[in-house]
Symmetry: C2
Subunit: 131 residues, 2 copies
């Protein structure tokens, strides 16, 4: 599959795929004439990249993590990715906690908007002070 089709199927632009290749995130085979060729594995990688990006990881980090999936489980590299995985795991847990606090705040705001109008709170009581 060539670059345009792959790009379209995952919802990005061909330039982005070229950029990812250059950044070491998405290797591509080449045809005889030099065209990039993508197989199904590239979809998996691109989904992984999308998730990492959505979680706010920089491409460099995503590239390293991809390296862990891709060929990181061989004995000779066993030791290397461990600290990174642990660090990322810690991040992810912290982020999950933040996310929960954040959704709580959002829900709270929604409740205040949607809930029954509270008697003690007139419209003109709206000041800069919160809660």
């Amino acid at each position: 599959m060539r670059i345009s089709q792959r790009a379209e199927r995952v919802g990005v632009k061909p330039t982005t795929l070229r950029f990812y290749e250059q950044a070491g995130l998405l290797p591509a085979r080449r045809s005889e004439s030099g065209y990039r060729l993508y197989d199904e594995e590239s979809v998996e990688r691109l989904e992984f990249i999308a998730t990492g990006k959505h979680l706010g990881l920089p491409l460099e980090e995503i590239r390293d993590l991809l390296g862990v999936w891709e060929d990181g489980l061989c004995t000779d590299v066993r030791a290397r990715p461990r600290p990174m995985l642990l660090a990322r795991l810690g991040d992810a847990q912290q982020r999950a906690a933040e996310l929960e606090a954040f959704t709580d705040r959002l829900r709270e705001a929604l409740n205040e908007i949607d809930g029954p109008p509270r008697p003690g709170r007139a419209a003109d009581s709206c000041t800069r002070s919160r809660r």
Copy 2:
């Protein structure tokens, strides 16, 4: 409290606070001579900003959400922020799911690294194909 102290106390640079003010995220009172002055509320706002950033929201979005906390609960603006809050809530839930899937993959990789060496898998079986 002036800009340097506030910046130091929340772990950012004064330039960043000025940038946030200019971007409409962090208003500041001014002294007679024009110095920015920050009260305790600014810490709350900055924590909120930090969380939003950590969740990957653009500053523009964070600014709008801050507007909701800040003065969004008055009757005359009740209707406005609701769709945004719902959208953000949806995002947050989706993100939480992604985060969980991601930590699962991290843990899985750690298990493969740390776990007992599996007999059927020699060091030279390390190929590009995954799992």
